[in-house]
């Protein structure tokens, strides 16, 4: 009875008792969720267009941020560094398409997945060789101050950088949505996502589309990398954090952009709430490591297509 009370009732009593703590935890969770969302967004873009599950997306984030920071440390103006990094990510997309994807065309998805693990390892080593393995702070003028907000039940602490990240993410998603709906390239991308053969038959060049979609994913990775870097510094631990985008995808659905966003927010908020109200008092903490994966696994049992996934996963 005692244990049941501790698990089922007590955390909620605490939440009601200290609403400002609850709100702070929630905001902290949502902001880290934004980061997961941005990584997951890159996954979804590539998965939709080419059916490839790009394990290297997390490394893309890191690699883009490393290049950006490295260039800035060399004295390049941030905007110029941003443009150059986009160029690098496009070149990378091109190289991946020519050197990895094209020779492996028509292989099992699982083979392609393992190939992207190879890409991930290569880029990790390459990035470190180029720019070194130190933690680098990003200074792009993102305001970083602690704000105190007065709410009805008390005062809460908010980092302005977190708010900024949220705004950028919302902006990015809007831009991408507009891009997908109103530009010829965006329409072509959606057509390819729906049906490769039909897209080919109306004259959409599949090869170029793949390069474009990988480049767009690279751009999203850069945005995610800069924000993540501004928060934590650009460091190689980012790649493990980025692995969490995988459960986010399962939650949100592999083919849905809104799913990636909502999934990221749910995972971010959920793991922080679980850690603070159940993990630390009952389980000894550090539950953030696995919470997202276990939730994803439970989801796989009951709703394998995720919250927003359109297509039912092939059952076995």
């Amino acid at each position: 009875m005692e244990t049941l009370y501790l698990i089922l009732i007590d955390p909620f009593v605490q939440m009601v008792d200290e609403p400002s703590f609850l709100v702070e935890v929630l905001i902290g969770g949502l902001t880290s969720g934004v980061m997961y969302s941005l990584v997951a967004l890159g996954f979804v873009l590539i998965f939709k267009a080419s059916g490839i599950f790009n394990f290297a997306q997390g490394i893309f984030v890191l690699f883009a941020a490393l290049n950006f920071v490295g260039l800035m440390d060399l004295g390049v103006h941030p905007i110029l560094a941003f443009v150059i990094t986009i160029g690098i990510m496009t070149a990378l997309a091109f190289a991946v398409d020519r050197l990895v994807l094209r020779p492996l065309v028509n292989q099992d998805p699982i083979i392609l997945f393992m190939a992207t693990i190879g890409i991930a390892f290569f880029l990790e080593g390459f990035g470190e060789t180029l720019w070194g393995g130190d933690v680098r702070p990003v200074q792009v003028g993102i305001p970083d101050a602690a704000l105190f907000w007065e709410l009805g039940f008390g005062e809460i602490l908010v980092q302005s950088a977190d708010l900024f990240a949220g705004v950028i993410a919302a902006f990015l998603v809007t831009v991408l949505a507009l891009f997908f709906h109103f530009t010829p390239v965006g329409r072509a991308l959606r057509a390819v996502a729906d049906d490769h053969q039909a897209a080919l038959s109306v004259g959409i060049p599949l090869n170029n589309i793949w390069v474009i979609v990988w480049a767009v994913a690279g751009f999203v990775a850069l945005a995610a990398g800069i924000m993540w870097g501004a928060k934590l510094g650009v460091q190689f631990a980012l790649s493990t954090i980025a692995l969490k985008a995988l459960p986010v995808l399962i939650l949100g659905g592999f083919t849905s952009i809104p799913g990636a966003i909502v999934g990221g927010l749910i995972v971010g908020a959920g793991e922080k709430l679980f850690e603070n109200f159940w993990g630390v008092p009952l389980l000894g903490g550090a539950t953030e490591d696995w919470f997202a994966y276990i939730v994803a696994m439970i989801f796989l049992f009951f709703r394998p297509q995720g919250l927003f996934g359109e297509k039912i996963i092939e059952r076995v």
């Binding site: 699982i110 393992m114 190939a115 190879g118 290569f122 080593g125």
Partner: protein
Amino acid sequence: MLYREAGQFKTSYSADQAMLTIPLDRWFVFALTAFAVIGVPLLASEYLMVSILVPVLILSIAALGLNILTGYCGQLSLGTGAFMAAGAYLAYKIATNITWLPIWVVIPLAGLCAAAIGIAFGLPSLRIKGFYLAVATLAAQFFLLWLFVKVPWFVNDSISGVPPAPPRSVFGFQVTGAAAGNEAKYLFVLAFVIALAWIARNLARSRIGRSWMAIRDMDIAAELVGIRPLPTKLSAFAISSFYCGVAGALWALCYINSVEPTAFDINRSFQVLFMVIVGGLGSVLGSFLGAAFIFLLPIFLNSAPGWIGYSVASDTITHIEFMLFGVLIIFFLIVEPHGLARLWQIAKEKLRLWPFPY
């Protein structure tokens, strides 16, 4: 010239169904085994035996395990490290609590426990496949390691959380722990390797192995010809986890001499996956070749610059190692998806026709 298939007539079914039908192959395997058992302990240096052969052999067992799951049954797993950890922690727990149990029983028992855990995490594979399953195995990786670190029961409430391996003996020779003799350790590990490799090879060509391969190649067709996916997949998970558990137990007790979580983190899972890809998906020989290759490559990279008179910073070596692993993976997937084992086979086929190819 010596290696000929032609003229090798069989007069009985059992000869026809033998594991190695060509006599030269058979003698080669027997000779290699005999050399490994007798020759190596007499000839090899201490460093070669303890620091290279023991870990390579243990990782071969893990690679065999993953190969059963990924190579034969087609279910991708990124949780190898966690199943190895399960074997290691439970072997420690069993060995320290049931002290009268001989160590050669403890390790397979720990493997069985790992198999049970493997079945639990393999359950989602009944509904999903491909990379969805990879995420489920990642759950095993992170959750199990967390569990072993956070629950002191597994390490008998050891204060440091990293208890030393309990010293245990077989036939009066100590085989586990830091004080064990090199030869004893090596032979103990080798015994497991020989037994498990033999079992794996026979499993792969028996009914169960064939049903794994059928599920891998096309699950719907396999179901149509009467293979039940549920027992087939779960048996692959169970046997694979058993192998990984045994490998983890040996790794902790015979190689690093302590039970520590960092030895079984996600990098270990990737390392074993690379062994399987480079060695050859769906090949017993490939598991050994891959394990040796992936384990020795960093050692080679570290010492190679010294041989030609260069000195390179060790972190540069690590970066190059990462890049090389990535390139190798992609290279093998593109050029030779069946890995080193397939190259070996091609060499044998060439040799068969030598010196008069068509």
